[in-house]
Each structure stands twice: as C-alpha cells, then as structure tokens.
Symmetry: C2
Subunit: 340 residues, 2 copies
C-alpha cells in the first residue's frame, strides 16, 4: 500500500543533514513510499544534490520559510511561525496531502501545533505521547510520555483505550496486556488518581492486568504490552531509563579501557559486544506517536542520527498501513456509545 | 567511635540466613561495632552456631516472638505485632540501646512502625526515604523514594533540607548541588507542585541548581548531588532504573552466549566484564535511610544477599559516625527559626 509522509526537514538538532539522507534511504527501501520534504528549498536542494533524481516522482520539496527552534516556546512557535517547516508539514496531513508527519523538532511546539491544526478526536480530552521500549520479553509500549503533567483517572482511561489500539495494530496482538504504573502491586498502594483509574480499568473491556511497577517497563516479572501513566511520571521514567543505559554503556567502555590487556580483550570480544550493542541500540526504538489527534504525527528524538530518523519514518509507515488513527477514532466512538 | 546497631534479623526474603552472616562479617571488619540481633532466639542461636564466640562481647541476641511478613499490611503489622523483630529492633533505638536499626523487611510496615515508635522531628511533616545511586559523576542521592505518594511544595522543600544534611555528612561535600526532578529544564515546564517548590528552593539558602530531568539520576549533563521529588515519581524512577539495568545485564549475557566463539570470548574478557559488573553492582548501593524521624532507620532491599545487607549495615555505621539524625534536627530547627 502506498503511503505519503510529510517530513519536517528542518527539525531536530541536525536538520536536513539527518532528515534528507534518512528520507532518501527510506525511499530506496520502500518503492511504495512518497515523501514531502518540508523546509527551506534552497537548503534542501543543496542537501539533495543529485542524489534524489532516481526518486523524483516520489519526492516532493515543499518550501517553508521559517523553522521552529529547539528551545522556542510552544506558544511562540504556534502564533508567530505560521510558515515553519513543522507547521507546514502538519498542514499536509490536515489537507489530506500526507498520511502522516514526522518531525525531530521541539516536542512542546510540535504538540501545540499538531493539536491546533489537526484537532482532537471527539471523546478524547487530551492527546498523549506513546512510544515503545525494549524489554526482556520483547517490547513494552508506554504512554503518556510528557504531553500531560496533570491527569485525572478519566484521562488515564482514555490513554489506555488509545494505547490498546496502537499496540494491537503495531504488534498484531489481539488483547494486549495493560498495566497501570504504580509504586506497588497491592491494591492499597498508590495515589488517588491511580486508584480511581484502576476502578475504571477494571470495569472496562480492557485486558487490564493490574498495577505494575517501574521495573516492568524493561524487565518485570511478567510480560506487559502497554503501561499507562501520566505524562510527568512517564517522562521521568523514560529519561531515567535513558540515563541508566548511558551510564551502564560508559562503565562497560571504561571496564574494557582499563589497560592493554582489557583493551585487547575488547577487540576479541568485538562480535559479542556488537550483538549486545545492537540489542539495546536506542536508535532502533526512535519515534513516539501522538495519539488522540485527527491525524498521525510521529515525534523523533531531537538528537536522532540518520538510522534513528529512519526508524521514526518507518514507524509512520507501519501506523499508516495499519490505519492506527482511524482505528483509534472508531474505538473511541464505540466506547463513548457504550458509556452513554 | 563505637556504634551500636539493632538488626531486624528476621526481616527480608531470606531472614537470618542473610542477616546473621552479614552481621558477623561486619563485626569482624569493625572492632568498634556492637550489634543487637533481634528475632527468634532459637533460630538465631542455631544460625550463629559457634561462629560468634569471638564477638560475644559485641553481639547481643534480643528475643522477639513475632515477625512481620513481607506482604503484610503496615497497619496490621503496627497494631497486631507488638513483639515483632522489626518493632523490637526499632524500640532499641527509641530506648537509647542502639544508635540505628537496619531491616530488610516490608517497607510500608517499617515506615509505619518507625514513625509510630520514634516520632517525627519537630518541623517535619512527613518522613522520606533517601538512597544513593551510581552516576557517571560518582553518586547521586535521591528522595523521596516511596514514603509519600502525594506531596506539596512545602514537603519537597523539607525533603531538600533533610537530604542536604545527609549528602553533606555522607559525601563530605560543603554545598551539595540540589536539583528538582521535572520533565524539562525550562521554567515553564512541570506541574503546579514542582513550580511552587522551585520558588521555595530559589528563596532558600539551598545550593539549588534548578530543574533536572530523569536522566540526571545516573548520567546528566552536569553533576547533581541531590535530586528531590515526590515518593510516587521517585519510586517509579528508581524501579525503572532497576529494570533497565536488569534488561541490559540479560542482553549482555545473551550476546556472550550466542555461540561457542562468543562464549570463549566471554572467558577471555572475564577480567573486564568483572570490573564492569562490580562498577554497576546494585549490592554496593543497598540501603535507604528514613529521614525526618527522631532516630536512624536503614531499609535494606528485601532480596538483599549477605554482601548487600553488609552494605546497608555499613551505611548505618557511616550515618551514626556523622551524626546525621542530629544534624537534620539541628538544621530543621534553625530553618524554622529563620522562617518565623
């Protein structure tokens, strides 16, 4: 199935230096893919040089005169930059020219603009950010990762409904196991918000397995497919995991750099170390989806390199082919009807 | 300086099997240490056999007829088990027979009993749990790790004051750098609680460096000595880090177990892998202090082995020698006076 993706080519720490080569590699890998590169056309043409000639029918450059800075306030970006590459890329989705937008730009601005331009799915109060992390059992999906700092139990319930559709579509699991992030597994544990959410989850048709703790994200006692939490806790947990992985990587490198002998063993152990590195490579998990909007927006890590940005584009391809946004809308509408 | 520590010898997943040998090793390592082993005297005498004869002057067995189960509700443990090893060990601190209590038992019960028996330091509304984690810069201390699921800005401020004294004493740093855990470093980010706390921190004499994100616990852009957060977020972050470390360890092992060749390289790389393993060994960081109480209580991980439990006892020795509880009381009293 052919899909069209609008790329915010100026977004991220590296801009076109990363987004352009990643786009070309994706076009090479999937002959059904079309891309709209949104950004400064002079800069983009320079980056493309003659590399894109072979894809000229599947690659459109769409000029945008502005760009959102990585540290710009969401409100300023929303109000003051109507011709930013980010906004114009999202407009492509709204206007039906693209099936999704991928951006490595400023998360707050991307969410504010996406919400303003695309609007919410009826029945959903707030959009959320969902992503996938590696676990000893395979993958764990988790939301919200930072769109909402204060959530009610109802918001968490809405997140679960949307997250369930994402996991079903992306992982091809009929009934994803859903856990509610808490600080203990016993009923009495937790704050008021989590306890109230648990009641909503229990009364629903969700495959709710109960409270899970922070270690369940990567390595719990049992497999959980989807973890639901508010954006404050989810974001802190995600970043804490990133920090732990970075520290462990640093310590592993340092252990192999102790002396001539350990340096030599690093060379001998290179194949195993390479397998290990690939198995925990965060670039293979790059890309978070905004859910709750009437269109698909994928946020790439700002510091993404070419491989990581390709992963984010690939996530958009999967979600387009699985009609994730449509499935969420249909599920929310059905749920609303049942609750009436 | 001699110190006396009461050990809840029945607590933890392994009870006396771990607590007794760990205690004997600590007595061997520090000739100024005295221990009170609290628990079933028949069981404890059996575990000790004749091993303790050489320490008989520094090792007291104090009988307690009950023990708190790992999954028992804090209220049940508090009301129904007045002769539990946990309670009797804490009583030793209250009655001045011991300078601290160390337990690997049920966290909720330990906190409820410690708070009931020892009482709060005047000026502190709630006790908190503080622990140390490894970071690329050395160590990071973080609180609260689960005692309080809902906190006000004032509670976070009190945690910072107490945590500062712990870090000053344990790390011998004059002005620890203190960060407030948030989901971004910009002023506009965060929920109401964190923003209000930031104002209190800024107006105080604390060496407050601003908001820090989850990755700062193990590997941020700059060194932070103490991270302050509420017990829900802190506990999730701590467990998320544990899960990440466990998953990475599993993947590393699996990479070296791929085939005969990688297995062989694991043998050759053993010295480096051993250095690495030691550098991230969680047993070297076992032990969390309860702060805000009129006595020192150290909580060991329930699943601690002998080495890990020794680390928790050693933490108690350090905090006793540095008069941490007294320093916290004095600092809180001085802060209250300044705010009057």
């Amino acid at each position: 199935m052919s899909s069209i993706i609008a790329i915010d080519a100026m977004g991220g720490d590296y801009g076109p230096e990363v987004t352009v080569p990643a786009s070309l590699e994706c076009l090479k890998a999937n002959s059904d893919l079309k891309l709209i590169l949104v950004g400064d056309e002079v800069v983009l043409n320079e980056c493309l040089a003659h590399d894109h000639i072979q894809y000229s029918e599947r690659l459109i450059i769409h000029h945008a005169s502005q760009q959102v800075e990585m540290d710009e306030s969401p409100q300023k970006a929303l109000r003051g930059k109507k011709d930013s590459s980010m906004r114009v890329a999202i407009n492509q989705v709204r206007d039906g020219h693209a099936d999704a937008c991928v951006s490595a730009g400023n998360t707050g601005a991307l969410m504010a603009i996406a919400r303003f331009v695309l609007k919410m799915i009826p029945g959903i109060d707030r959009p959320a950010i969902i992503s996938t992390l590696p676990s000893v059992f395979g993958h764990t999906h988790i939301l919200d990762l930072g769109a909402n700092v204060d959530c009610t139990a109802e918001h968490l319930y809405q997140f679960a409904i949307m997250g369930e559709e994402v996991v079903k579509a992306v992982e091809n699991i009929a009934e994803p196991k859903i856990g509610l992030l808490n600080i203990g597994e016993e009923d009495m544990k937790g704050n008021g918000q989590v306890k109230a959410a648990a009641k909503l989850f229990e009364a629903s048709s969700l495959n709710y397995i109960g409270y899970v703790e922070g270690d369940s994200i990567n390595a719990g006692d049992e497999k959980v497919d989807l973890i639901v939490t508010d954006g404050f806790v989810g974001n802190v947990a995600l970043k804490a995991i990133e920090g732990a992985a970075k520290m462990i990587g640093t310590k592993l490198k340092s252990a192999f750099s102790q002396n001539m002998f350990t340096k030599l063993t690093a060379v001998i152990a290179f194949p195993a170390l390479k397998i290990f590195k690939q198995s925990v490579d965060p670039r293979m998990y790059n890309g978070a989806s905004f859910v709750g909007l009437r269109g698909l927006v994928i946020k790439s890590h700002g510091g993404a390199d070419i491989l990581a940005f390709k992963t984010a584009i690939h996530l958009a391809e999967i979600e387009i082919s699985q009609n994730v946004t449509q499935k969420i809308s249909a599920k929310v509408a059905a749920t609303m009807k049942n609750r009436e």
